[in-house]
Symmetry: C2
Subunit: 469 residues, 2 copies
């Protein structure tokens, strides 16, 4: 039974019960009010706090009953012990959804688990749906719904079902520079009522969502989750990270979201059978989201590598083949065609192509176009050296090479990706950031290392092979 | 038979044969002259080029015979076909060492391999040692020896034997921000005469070298290399990366440095028996160098994790346990002691410790000190959120938390590391860079992800276990 959750993402009014008098006071509850106001939420916002008359310029109400209308959505920031009454009040007022930031339930031990069960019982009886408890709730930029100041106002096409509020923020913030934007993020915590399967089903049919990412510490209903995952993955790319893969990680997940253990082997099998692409860290998740957003599915696993630096050519080739891609030797015809551009001693044209031609825009572009139209590879991987400007003694050459790659990528018949190492040094980092923003504009995947690139690309190809099986 | 190579690293005069008239002209040879002059090499430099009278303000000589004295070191930038005569000229002049940038030897095919053999025959007969060919040669900051402008003038204690000039540059430049400095870097290319074993033996006894890194595409003399590696690893940490681990990578290595295949399993066994710490990418090499430089060997594998964010606590714990470290549950006494600091709902004190206490300097420091002196863990891993300032609404809090960690680390009995995610966005990157530079000053290892940290630390512990076996 699929739940129609559309109403959750488009509330016309929101009450924040337990709004701290200083809405920046994170000790007294998260900055939900601050987030909604700074985000520009257009609906009505009702702060509820019996000890305040006004908070951040908004009239404050002493309780839910005294609100001028029934809010579509209630955020709970009150202590756990008071939440059963809140659920009763919500039912009495006709509220349809409560997002419970409040913690201290199943993640905190047996007492909390009992309280959580009580809440679910009340909610189901009264017909109100719960998100959480122990969660940040819903981010939906098209509605102006935000749970943390600093979240992007720009909507994108990635839907993220994330059991951890902190991890949802980390992925969203790390993704900003890479052009990754979200249609919806659901931080759903202990999943007492609505769970991962509900949200996954919702994102599967959501037309605003093109790629789905999930971070799950423990599915609440294994069989239903499997069905939801399989349906989702047969519809759009699904990238899945399990939090609590190890014994101690499972224990940490228990303290975090009250999640129960799922054996690692079982999770692996579940993802594999469902066709979800498994990743092992948030960094890998970001790499794969970027790949899925920007890259047309390659028709095979053959990579053509071009760059300058014999060592980098070797390590890039190793990275590709270790990740399950192949770097085939070019035919003698193709090698001869490439060798015509005066590749000197120390160069190689057999794939990987290693040549100073990278510093000559027209020849570099020509080499990439010849490789791309050869029918001998399914995608191109271009690696640019960190120190190209030092080597050549020309501070512009890095930018010129980058622009050559960007421009050429637009006219190729096969997908292309770029690898550019960088450091945090302001000069180097600024150059990388500029290239990154140009890549985002051009929808060209950019990675910091060949290992990251190869790993993400290989998994992406695996997903499309599975879908076209 | 160990070679005494001290003379190679301390030349009092250098001739560059085939110096391009424009020393920035990389097509006509690398910028060796430019590098030596900008680096401030104190000895005599003799550019040799029959077509020029002066290059970069230095008198230029038409050939080796016309030099006013015998140079200690000759860099060859002439075409391959002319190098046998150069070797003869060097022998006639009494030169002891030639670094051959010249390419077009065994990496280029059978003809080149024959020429390379001829060179080696001539050199051994005449008593001159060759570095290369097809290499950048030697970087030794204490002598002022540099092969690339932009190399650091500051000497450090890492010795790097690197078959690839480009990879040596990449590691050196990527290491700069992390406080990694080198005693010597040897880019040795085809290893026709002096090979990896010679340089490894040299660095083993070199008092300026405390940590050794090697990047090798193919050892020239397997048994001797194994002995050299084992001796080195029993003396100081040795970090080893094989270029050409895969079939296509081996082919690329053949085109790059004329290296022959070494089966991956054989290489793995060789490193394991010799006690060298194997890494699988240059990024992992940098992580491990930083660990070896800054971290006192932990007494065991038990990690105490502290940070703010339930999800980050779970993923950090998974990263540690996946890498072979353990994250033990704290005793009830320790949990009670930690719980006294008003850890509220949503916090955890059982290890990982997850708490907003990270934003309160004195309590945060106290928590770290209690964990460190508990005898329940062997090292601390502190993870700071990317978005701590956003969450708390205080732009200084990130810096304050960082300084608290830095200060506390100075008084702990067990080692500590920091994990701080970051992006290339100028604001975020600048904050990370500032923290990074403070960590370098304090010799505190800093990583961008828990996965990187755990992987490097686990291998470092493995090395010390092997040494104390």
């Amino acid at each position: 039974m699929m739940s129609d959750l559309e109403f959750l993402f488009h509330p016309k009014s929101i009450a924040i019960v337990g709004t701290p008098r200083d809405p920046k006071d994170t000790a007294g509850g998260a900055g939900f009010l601050n987030a909604l106001i700074t985000f520009g939420y257009k609906g009505d916002i009702y702060p509820v706090n019996p000890k305040a008359r006004e908070i951040m310029g908004l009239k404050c109400y002493s309780d839910l009953a005294s609100l001028p209308r029934t809010p579509d959505y209630v955020i709970s920031c009150i202590p756990a012990s008071l939440t059963p009454q809140l659920v009763r009040d919500c039912i009495a007022k006709g509220v349809k959804a409560i997002s419970m930031y409040t913690a201290g339930f199943s993640e905190a031990g047996d007492e909390g688990a009992k309280l959580e069960q009580e809440l679910v019982g009340l909610a189901r009886e009264g017909g109100v749906r719960l998100v959480g408890p122990n969660c940040m709730g819903i981010y939906c930029p098209s509605t102006g719904l935000s749970y943390q100041s600093g979240q992007s106002k720009e909507a994108g096409c990635v839907g993220f079902v994330c059991q951890s509020g902190g991890n949802s923020n980390l992925v969203a913030l790390m993704g900003l520079d890479r052009g990754i934007r979200f249609s919806k993020i659901i931080s759903y915590g202990n999943a007492a009522d609505l769970n991962e399967a509900d949200f996954l089903e919702y994102l599967t049919q959501d037309v605003e969502t093109r790629v789905i990412a999930v971070y799950i510490e423990g599915p609440k209903d294994g069989p239903r989750f499997f069905r939801a995952l399989a349906t989702a993955a047969s519809t759009k790319p699904v990238i899945a990270l399990k939090g609590g893969r190890t014994k101690a990680g499972t224990r940490a997940a228990g303290s975090h979201t009250g999640s129960l253990a799922t054996a690692e082997e079982r999770w692996d099998a579940l993802c594999q059978q469902a066709g979800a692409v498994q990743v092992y860290s948030l960094e890998e998740m970001l790499d794969l989201i970027e790949t899925a957003l920007y890259m047309k599915p390659p028709q095979g696993r053959r990579v053509g590598i071009i760059g300058w630096g014999g060592g980098a050519s070797v390590t890039s080739t190793d990275a590709c083949e270790s990740a399950g891609l192949s770097v085939p030797t070019f035919s003698s015809e193709l090698r001869q065609e490439l060798a015509r551009f005066a590749f000197g001693p120390g160069s190689s044209v057999s794939n990987p192509v290693d040549s100073a031609v990278v510093t000559n825009p027209s020849l570099f572009s020509k080499a990439m176009r010849i490789m791309a139209s050869s029918n001998e590879v399914d995608l191109l991987l271009v690696h640019l050296p960190l120190d190209i400007s030092h080597i050549v003694g020309d501070s512009d050459i890095w930018k010129v090479a980058g622009e050559t790659v960007l421009e050429t990528s637009q006219s190729l018949d096969i997908p292309m990706v770029v690898v550019q190492p960088h450091t945090a040094h302001p000069g180097n980092s600024a150059g990388f950031y500029a290239l990154q923003q140009r890549c985002v504009e051009t929808s060209l995947p950019l990675y910091s290392s060949a290992g990251q690139a190869a790993c993400a690309i290989s998994r992406y190809i695996q997903y499309h092979l599975w879908r076209s099986r």
